[in-house]
């Protein structure tokens, strides 16, 4: 039980990455593949934030009410994950625009038909 309490955020982030990877490997709809990439992105972000987490820590923001109190979590992974979220949004937007053009050209979003694969 203590193992779960200490590692539940890592298990959750790895689970998100694995679910996203499964979607990317198995699904043939291009929109679903892009959503799978987005899930992998979310899992990696969750992992980075939980690396900087301290148990019972607060957000790294000083406010006058509780100036001195509990210990604050690491701010560096949070700032970098903020960067990563914005870049993930732009990657997904670009991928969706490519999907729109592919749909206009081929008339389908099925990856097997677009690449003319057998299976």
């Amino acid at each position: 039980m203590s193992f779960l309490a200490g590692y539940v955020q890592y298990i959750g982030s790895f689970g998100l990455v694995l679910i996203g990877l499964y979607i990317v490997l198995v699904k043939t709809n291009l929109i679903k593949v892009i959503l799978g990439i987005n899930l992998i992105d979310t899992g990696v972000n969750l992992f980075l934030v939980s690396v900087g987490y301290i148990r019972m820590g607060t957000a790294p923001i000083f406010s006058q009410a509780e100036a001195a109190g509990r210990e604050m979590v690491d701010p560096v992974p949070q700032a970098l994950v903020l960067t990563a979220i914005v870049i993930g949004v732009s990657v997904v937007a670009l991928a969706l625009s490519v999907a729109i053009r592919l749909y206009e050209h081929y008339g389908t979003l099925n990856l097997c038909k677009i690449r003319e694969l057998k299976w």
Binding site: P60, F62, D74, V86, S90, L94
Partner: protein, 237 residues
């Protein structure tokens, strides 16, 4: 066949990741347990203990993002700009079919509701990015809220869309202002994006040097950029 193969791959990956969890613990928890007790190496604790007196911003994440790692933020804004440009280039080359689609006018209730809510959403976004150095939030979050206001306009009142030329003008001017602030820091103190304005008293709105200024410009830039992306993807521009 394909499903079975990918399940095997995922199983191997999951076993590998689970075995990584069983080793010596990583992360801030382990660093607190005096694995690394040096402030010059443990940057998180160094920023937490010194950021308020060094930058004057009570939001440590904002001071890391704008002053300590300001160049990263400039790169991030550039990535967003390149993505928006590429998206517009992909969606606008060689087709005019999109304009043939007839836009059904929204009902009066939806139209009035959108027109009523849009300024409030803009105001809330501006509040978020102007107080980025004091409270949770900042330029990117406020910009995302403003872009949600643009999404409401694109969905709700098709007749009153923001002009894409004005959106790109705001975006370019805000990006240029960000670079100019960095260059002023280079001219005044010898390093790019130096915090050259006075720090002021902590917890005041006009404090923390260049952080609120940069966040206001980032808010304008991200808001107009994401609004343009939303408009491109919804086929409105």
């Amino acid at each position: 066949m394909r499903r079975a193969l990918s399940l095997i791959v995922l199983l191997v990956l999951a076993v590998g990741l689970a075995s990584a969890l069983r080793g010596p613990s990583v992360g801030a928890e382990a660093r607190r347990a005096s694995l690394i007790d040096d402030d010059e190496v443990n940057f998180g604790r160094r920023y937490n203990s010194r950021a308020v007196e060094e930058t004057g911003a009570s939001n440590v994440v904002a001071s890391v993002l704008v002053t300590y790692r300001g160049l990263d933020t400039l790169g991030e804004v550039t990535v967003l700009f390149v993505a928006a440009t590429g998206l517009a280039a992909l969606l606008h080359t060689g087709r005019r079919r999109r304009s043939e689609r007839e836009a059904t006018p929204a009902s009066l209730i939806v139209f009035t509701g959108c027109r009523f809510l849009f300024p409030l959403i803009l105001l809330f976004g501006a509040y978020i990015f102007a107080h980025g150095h004091l409270t949770p939030g900042g330029g990117f979050q406020g910009g995302a809220i403003i872009a949600s206001g643009f999404l409401l306009i694109y969905l709700g009142c098709r007749g009153r869309q923001p002009e894409s030329k004005r959106l790109s003008a705001v975006e370019s001017l805000a990006g240029l202002a960000f670079v100019l602030i960095g260059l002023i820091g280079l001219a005044v103190g010898g390093s790019f994006l130096l915090n050259f304005l006075p720090e002021g008293s902590p917890y005041a709105l006009l404090s923390a040097g260049i952080i609120p200024v940069v966040y206001v410009f980032i808010g304008f830039k991200v808001g107009s950029e994401l609004g343009g992306i939303v408009g491109d993807l919804s086929g409105a521009r």
